[in-house]
Amino acid sequence: MGSDFTQQIRDKAKELLEKGTVECVIGYETGSDGFSARPAFIYEPAEVERLVFDNTCSHNLVKYLLNKKGKPTAVIVKGCDSRSLNLLLSEKQIDRDNIFIIGVVCPGVVEWGWNNRSDQLQIRCNWCRQHNPVIYDFLVGEPVTEGPPDDFADIAAMETKSTEEREAFWREQAEHCVRCYACRQACPGCYCIDCFVEQLDPEWVGIRIAPEENLMWNTIRAFHLAGRCISCNECERVCPVNIPLSLLNRRIEREVLGLFDYRAGMSEDAVAPLITFMKDEKLGIGE
């Protein structure tokens, strides 16, 4: 897979840059440990040889498009990443006309860190039902059949704990949190100019890096992604203290799927569930 995909991506990137279709191709290159991938920004046709694609290509590169507004750019997306393109298109954050999408049928990415790589797939690949990109201009790989619906077993397992245990669990996680906001910075859905957490007036979250404030941050971060999270799980991957943020995102995702039969980022004109409604729905609220 790897070398063939890599070659197709290089060829396409070269063509796009040579023709001047785009100014920049955002893809992956080999990182400083000599084997794991990192984001790469290719501006010259001669540089395309830097591009690679393998099972460490974890990063959701769509986030970078937010810095490329108004500049024709190509981006390489896996299935999950492609959903964030739809999200950003529907929220008018990127301009389809300026973007060339190289979709890659994702074979799954492995757990890795700098200078260490396992053969085990990342947890997000276990839930993933979007190996095929939902939106692309050029597709690398043959589309595959997606698996049966996700059973959210991780969430169910968490729910077998008592409320007190869950509270203690999250408090413990909040103790670790250093509020570096890497989760936010990596997330394609987080693009506010001024994040609520850093606003001084209203001061929603106090300055202390303490469990109460950290919990507030983590709760609202997850809630602001309600019906918008596309499960790329970049937030969890980048967390320096390994907080299992996917649990929060997926708890909401399961609810959104159950109540509204909605999956974020599946089409560019979808309306997110919290900004629409149905009159006669029963949601267990006020009933």
Binding site: F196, W204, H224
Partner: protein, 665 residues
């Protein structure tokens, strides 16, 4: 630093009997930013209000908290009070320590503690209040009426007579609406045309009314006082300045098309007026059916056989009024108010398979019978069976066809069918004494002036046989129809051999009522009837200021109700247009352009279309609030993740201050 004054009301013993008012006042004195605190026996009394005004002046207070009854009670009173002392009326906050405290708690200690908290919260909130000024916007003193039926006619005449300009838009070539199709009207048996036609003529002749027939509303922008409406004027192909309405053309036209006005029972030419008394009494060319227009269409592609050229109308017109160069045209007009009177159509009974599903020519709708009975109708007023032209003797009426029937998705009562059926029974007997009428009904609903007497008359004097029950099946047997039903009062099946079956089809909103509602941003129910602002207290207003509704587009009603409704809407419009400017409530949303990311979640949730797009100097597309449309619900604020939208009077800062004051003391 603010200087906040706190005024705690005893409200006689209403508050003071439970809450320890002096303790609250003392506590208030120590709250941050509070410069002055005092108690009043009755704050709302003139003495009480005067003491506040004095304190504001003497203590140089710049914000005021009044702890008293519910703000829903006296907020406006006290706003005037502080305004009289020179403060901006929005620098006031009411703390509800009566309804929410002293009246519902009996323990003095708890109630006092709670009252102190409530005052503390109000102090925290008032500190973040800003001076607000209501805005004045001008208005266009013109009204648009959509739909030229009896309701729209009445509204147009009333508004025009009050001295305001009116534009009446009607999609058909003539005004008059459904009422013009009726023969007689219940319960007085007035001739419908006789009472309607003079009003139609009044409309045409009124100097304040511009009549736009054969026209449709395409798009509506703006807000109360300042609507901008695109109106499509369909090409009539006749120059109305030259045309005298002599009728030569429509008599000469060789084409014959089923007449919509006669419910397809008669026919009309391709250049036509819908009915003899049409207003304006000038024809239009039905482009889809005109032979020459068809020929022109064919010329473009030359596909299929060549249709004949015709142009007879052009040849015979004495004033050369036929003008084929006319094109559909969109004009844009400004209005201060809009009245929607788009009326109704009758239920399509072909969904009732048991009544033949529209297969039997002698099963007709009531409106078809109206046309058959009308002297100006296709049969010249003789009631003849559509199948063979014979005079029916046994006539079966079936009530509630497309009304009160969940099965066809029409659970509501259409209100007029019981009465018009009684009218039909009486009239048929008048036309032909040998006629025997049978009426299958669920209930006879005759609630109206002289209605019950009229319905009785149909039964007692005319001998119509009223059978309580539904019809299970109608089938053709030879020339006649067999009607199988049940008389539920005696509990036996009934079988009637009928010559004619008349279905009392119910009312439903005209086609595209929902589309018009969407254009105007007003609500409609599942049947597409428009929804009034309040079913009892605001029956002709809508949730969108400046848009009014009247007549059968709101719900089934009869002619007198429609006329009254139209008049009511007119009165509201006149009241609105009589003002020189409109005052907008300043408690609206605002956008911080530095924070807005342009995702337009706010626009998606705004129920009032009050959010527009705007491009900043650094070329970002961001949201902006149209303060004239904004009603201050705050949905946008919550939808906005970066907190770029805020709601004056209920800002995020204020609500957060209230919470923090409470939890952190």
């Amino acid at each position: 630093m603010s200087r906040i004054g706190v005024f705690v009301c005893h409200c006689g013993t209403n508050i003071g009997g439970v809450v320890n008012v002096p303790e609250v006042v003392e506590a208030a004195r120590h709250m941050p930013l509070v410069a002055y605190a005092d108690a009043n026996k009755y704050t709302c009394s003139e003495v009480g209000q005067a003491s506040i005004r004095d304190a504001i002046r003497e203590q140089r207070l710049d914000r005021v908290v009044i702890a008293s009854c519910s703000p829903r009670m006296h907020e406006n009173t006290f706003r005037r009070t502080v305004a009289a002392a020179g403060l901006n009326p929005y620098l006031l906050e009411i703390s509800n320590i009566r309804e929410h405290c002293s009246w519902v708690h009996s323990d003095s200690k708890d109630a006092t503690a709670k009252a102190i908290d409530l005052v503390r919260m109000a102090v925290a909130k008032v500190a973040r209040h800003e001076s607000l000024l209501p805005k004045q916007v001008g208005l266009t003193k013109r009204a648009l009426i959509i739909g030229g039926g009896i309701t729209g006619i009445q509204a147009a005449l009333d508004i025009a007579s009050a001295g305001h300009e009116v534009v009446l838009v009607e999609k058909e070539p003539s005004i008059g609406g459904r009422m013009s199709q009726l023969d007689k009207t219940f319960p007085t048996l007035d001739c419908s045309a006789c009472i309607l036609t003079p009003k139609m003529v009044d409309v045409a002749q009124h100097p304040n009314i511009t009549l736009l027939t054969y026209s449709e509303v395409k798009e509506v922008r703006g807000f109360v006082g300042n609507f901008e409406v695109d109106i499509l004027k369909k090409a009539k192909m006749v120059d109305y300045v030259k045309c005298t309405g002599c009728g030569t053309c429509w008599q000469a036209c060789p084409e014959r098309i089923p007449s919509e006005f006669d419910m397809g029972l008669g026919s009309r030419p391709a250049i036509y007026i819908p009915f003899a008394q049409a207003v304006p009494n000038k024809p239009v060319i039905d482009i889809a059916n005109c032979r020459y227009e068809k020929y022109l269409k064919w010329k473009e592609t030359e596909e299929g056989p060549e249709p004949p050229q015709c142009r007879i109308c052009e040849g015979v017109c004495p004033t050369e009024a036929i003008d084929r160069s006319q094109k559909d045209e969109i004009i844009t007009e400004k209005f201060g108010a809009v009245v929607v009177t788009t009326g109704f159509k009758t239920f399509d009974h072909s969904v009732y398979g048991e009544y033949g599903g529209g297969r039997y020519p002698d099963v007709i709708s009531s409106l078809e019978l109206e046309r058959l009975m009308s002297a100006a109708g296709p049969t010249g007023g003789e009631v003849l069976r559509p199948s063979d032209g014979s005079h029916p003797k046994n006539v079966v009426f079936i009530q509630c066809v497309g009304s009160r029937d969940d099965k066809v998705g029409r659970p509501y009562c259409s209100k007029v069918c019981c009465m018009y059926t009684a009218k039909h029974a009486i009239m048929l007997r008048e036309h032909d004494h040998e006629v025997q009428c049978y009426v299958f009904y669920i209930d006879v609903r005759a609630g109206g002036k002289d209605f019950e007497e009229f319905a009785r008359r149909a039964q007692d004097e005319t001998g119509a046989l009223y059978l309580r029950g539904r019809v299970s099946q109608i089938y053709q047997e030879g020339k006649n129809l067999k009607v199988l039903g049940e008389d539920s009062l005696i509990g036996r099946p009934v079988e009637i051999e009928a010559d004619l079956v008349v279905l009392a089809t119910g009312m439903e909103p005209s086609d595209n009522a929902d589309l018009i509602a969407q254009k105007l941003n007003i609500s409609y129910n599942t049947y597409n009837f428009l929804i009034e602002a309040h079913p009892k207290l605001r029956p002709v207003e809508t949730q969108t200021d400046g848009i009014f509704v009247a007549g059968t587009c709101v719900g089934p009603r009869d002619i007198p109700d429609c006329v009254a409704h139209g008049g009511a809407a007119a009165a509201k419009v006149v009241a609105l247009l009589s003002q020189d400017s409109l005052t907008t409530d300043p408690l609206t949303s605002i956008v911080d352009p530095m924070k807005c990311v342009g995702c337009f979640a706010c626009k998606e949730v705004c129920p009032f279309n009050a959010i527009d797009e705007q491009v900043t100097r650094d070329k970002r597309t961001i949201a902006s609030i149209n303060e004239s449309l904004c009603k201050g619900c705050g949905l946008c604020v919550v939808a906005c993740r970066p907190g770029a939208v805020n709601l004056r009077g209920f800002t995020s800062q204020q609500l957060l201050s209230e919470v923090l004051t409470l939890v952190r003391g």
